[in-house]
Symmetry: C2
Subunit: 551 residues, 2 copies
């Protein structure tokens, strides 16, 4: 017997749809057949690939779990000599408890099952709500090599199952993932995988799901790392791919690891490119997986709606994006021409619908009730709500999903109108602070080779244009001042007091913190949108609405 | 030494405000002083009484946890010979891990700390997101009696810490709770507490928080059960109370438990009374704890808005409730007179604002865009959105919170207009199926001694009145048919297939299930409202929006 086993490994970085069990099965089998054709000995699919990740409370439905098992059994019929590692929900026959599991399949049979040990229950994750942790470390022999299987979180713990399995003899670990994107994550992931490979002297094959699922974007980026921690093959981010790589593995841990043959290595994207790609994929999948083809966007002539429209055209094609300009008595003349120039640059149709008639009608109908009261925020919000209602009417009539265009800075401090500019099915840039919006616009224009988002839009002072000569900086500090404070308060969970102790101006910090807290009720009624940071407004951040803490 | 210890126990059923640490401390000390005055030997406060329950992601702020500890230290200064058991967030100095804990305090000192063992992570609970489980079972000697302390979930497990502590010698268990209400819960709670007392041959003193916190209502209902399982004292539900009871406890487990002197026993409420009280308390606390005094409600002349208004008057006083009738070309003449009669019966002011001018203005502004298209749902939704916008304008101008009036049946199948009748800060009856709405209206009228909700409202056929002669049963099955299917699908997590197998009509069930699934996006942008069932739309039910399961 030779000292080394030669193994061709396939990592199927697929984009499943949550709940679409049969569609996902078809995708799994298509990739399996492709891998067989390419001569793979084993092909691994992402975490919970049958259900799509995360299935959330669907797994509390006994009928859903049963169906996921039935679909796995159907897939099995087509599994031959090439091993398949498939993520599914495993139910214990005696206890009825369920596990986040991987089926290791060959020749129409389940050869073994690995049940995830470490169940994340922080940030966007709720796995302890559903699953019982696994405790076993089964090992598998594939073409003479001793192979371990783990699931996502399992590999992040240096003392976890990967190291245990290696100590039991595994020379390759197949780690299947539903690992969501955030800015900077792929670097952290690579570093961790590299040390895990080195620590456990074991080749690591990491396969990740790709695609958008509500707030989350899964970025793929599957990779294989040699036992010395170097990347020997990697897939692109944000696209489906079947990554194939030949491995030469020692038959025993006592034999030194051989030089790996290198597979294909995808060019890594820089951070702005990753963020833009995440926005595009998240938007495309949310719109299309929910059965829509077209979207409608209110184009104000400002930078937020410009970036949202740019993302939408990349996600869906210009012909599926519809712009609406909705001028009022307070709109600057530049706003309408900027909106039209943007639409023309992006190849998007644009119609103009004045909000004046409806705005006036409301003012008249409300005049008796408002008698003796001065104009205030009410009238500003009214204009914004006429715009929201107009967009929804177009949505209802033509079957277009409304994309909403608020950024994280505005959403944080409540500088938007609930049921007004917040209306929509999906909030494209909700997790980008305003300063980041500018950065990504610059990236988009550079990538496009020309200023598709016109300079006049990029350079104008931000304004909601809801009263004469309004500018954001009349109500808010400049975004360069606001955003770092928001980042500390919202993303880093510092209290106002802690931020002040870092040297920021006391009154300003307290005011911002108070705005963030008191606007929780508005955010709670907002649309989902692409998660870009480590703490987006959504499942990531579960603060009470009723909350009198002011620390 | 006598065989028996005589102990006067106080259970302080308080209504804290989440995050309002100092206000909560004041409430704790007020009750402590009252208990001391009444001669109590020990007084127990609810779970996490310093922070209010549930503090959710506030506990991820290190500064919040530090502040909660500082407040406990301040409380300590006023603690004398009478023991106090106070719920707080305990942080381990070495590991920084946090625990849901109870401080047992006497004479300015923390005598000991119990850390909750069993952390619920299902339904509305996320405790494993935050806390590390405790493992110790410290026992305390109070006036010669051996006393154990546990927290909420701990007592629901027959083999859990209560039984362990009893086996170690505890003759009394002080169980502190943040246990939210649902219909039928108090019966289940009593039964469980009774068997726990009997099983462990131990007196059980159960203290629960009272009050509304976002979706949740805590119903109090604190009680003391003798070791034979009988209730010897109980507090009322839904109100603050300091329950005091004298206990005679054996100094050793080997001595038979004596006859208990009975304390005050509150009359139990029947189920409809509990539900109505929960709606009232939930609404009052949401409105007032968020800094509002007044609310505004659109009165359509239908039963949902009638019940919401009735609840609001009980919660806030009639003078703080403002009705608005917003007739359109499709409103029946009866609607307006019914709305006015209701307002007069409830002592609520009502103004009439026609939606026609704004509706017409929209139709005109949209006419070029809609050219060649027939009227459809768009125009119906428009009317509803004009109403929503009108209510929000009144809210903005006068500082009234909008109460929204949708019921669970409508919300389940999406029979409402997003940004239309769904607008509002709080959704009073969102967890009541339509058939239950009728039942609670009947209860309210009976309690009131006359038909404050007019018969003409109770008896009319449900209609949204958004097109000529519209009735709900043109779009939906009768609510007597719809509601049981919704209950199985939404609350019991049956799949459509399982419901069909129970004998329900296949096409109907599939249609209802599809409606529930496809309207998840609408619900996600809805207001919070009082949780009444074991599965409300909210933190209880976390289904993906993007979801193609149709099992």
């Amino acid at each position: 017997m030779a000292e080394f086993a030669e193994l061709r490994v396939g990592l199927a970085q697929i984009n499943p749809v949550v709940g679409s069990l049969r569609e996902n099965a078809t995708k799994i089998l298509d990739n399996y057949k492709q891998a067989v054709k390419a001569g793979c000995d084993v092909v691994a699919f992402p975490e919970l690939s049958i259900t799509g990740y995360p299935p959330e409370d669907l797994v509390l439905k006994q009928g859903f779990v049963a169906e996921n098992r039935k679909v796995l059994d159907e897939i099995l019929k087509s599994i031959g000599d090439t091993f398949a590692v498939i993520g599914f929900v495993d139910q214990d026959k005696d206890s009825d408890e369920i596990y986040n599991a991987a089926a290791i399949c060959q020749n129409q049979k389940i050869v073994g099952v690995y049940r995830k040990h470490l169940l994340p229950n922080y940030n966007v994750f709720d796995e302890q709500r559903y699953f019982t942790p696994g405790v076993h470390n089964p090992l598998f022999t594939i073409k003479g090599a001793c192979v371990g299987v783990t699931i996502c979180e399992d590999i992040w713990d240096a003392q976890g199952p990967v190291s245990v399995q290696a100590s039991l003899g595994a020379v390759l670990n197949l780690n299947i993932n539903g690992s969501p994107f955030h800015a900077g994550k792929i670097g952290a992931r690579r570093e961790m995988l590299s040390s895990r490979a080195r620590d456990s002297e074991c080749v690591v094959a990491y396969v990740n799901q790709v695609g958008g699922q509500d707030e989350l974007v899964f970025d793929g980026g599957s990779m294989i790392l040699a036992a010395d921690g170097t990347i020997v093959a990697s897939a692109a981010q944000f696209v489906e791919e079947l990554l194939i790589c030949d491995l030469v593995l020692p038959r025993s841990k006592s034999v030194a690891a051989p030089q790996q043959s290198r597979g294909q290595i995808a060019e890594p994207l820089d951070e702005d490119a990753q963020i833009f790609a995440a926005l595009v994929l998240g938007t495309r999948d949310y719109v299309q997986k929910n059965g829509f083809k077209d979207v409608v966007i209110g184009l104000s002539g400002g930078i937020d709606s410009a970036l949202a429209a740019a993302v939408a055209t990349q996600a869906l094609g210009s012909e599926h994006v519809h712009g609406v300009a909705m001028p009022s008595r307070y709109s600057s003349p530049g706003s309408l021409t900027d909106a039209k120039l943007l639409a023309s640059n992006l190849g998007v149709d644009i119609q103009t619908i004045s909000i004046e008639p409806a705005f006036s009608a409301y003012l008249e109908a409300l005049a008796p009730s408002f008698a003796g009261r001065r104009a205030d925020l009410t009238e500003e919000n009214l204009q914004s709500r006429v715009r929201g209602t107009t967009l929804m009417a177009l949505s209802n009539k033509f079957g277009w999903m409304v994309l909403t265009t608020g950024n994280k800075s505005e959403i944080a401090v409540g500088y938007f109108t609930l049921y007004g500019d917040s209306v929509g099915g999906y909030a494209v840039i909700k997790d980008l602070f305003k300063t980041k919006v500018y950065e990504i616009c610059t990236y988009f224009n550079q990538q496009s080779g020309r200023d598709l988002i016109p300079n006049s839009i990029v350079n104008k002072a931000p304004s909601a244009e809801l009263r004469p000569d309004q500018r954001d900086d009349q109500s808010l500090p400049p975004y360069e001042v606001l955003d770092p404070i928001l980042e500390m308060y919202v993303e880093d969970d510092l209290t106002a007091q802690q931020i002040i102790e870092l040297g920021y101006e006391s009154e300003l910090v307290k005011r911002i913190a108070r705005l963030v807290d008191m606007n929780e009720y508005k955010r709670r009624q907002g649309a989902p949108g692409v998660r870009i940071s480590t703490k987006a407004f959504g499942k990531d951040r579960r603060l009470p609405i009723t909350n009198k803490f002011s620390g």
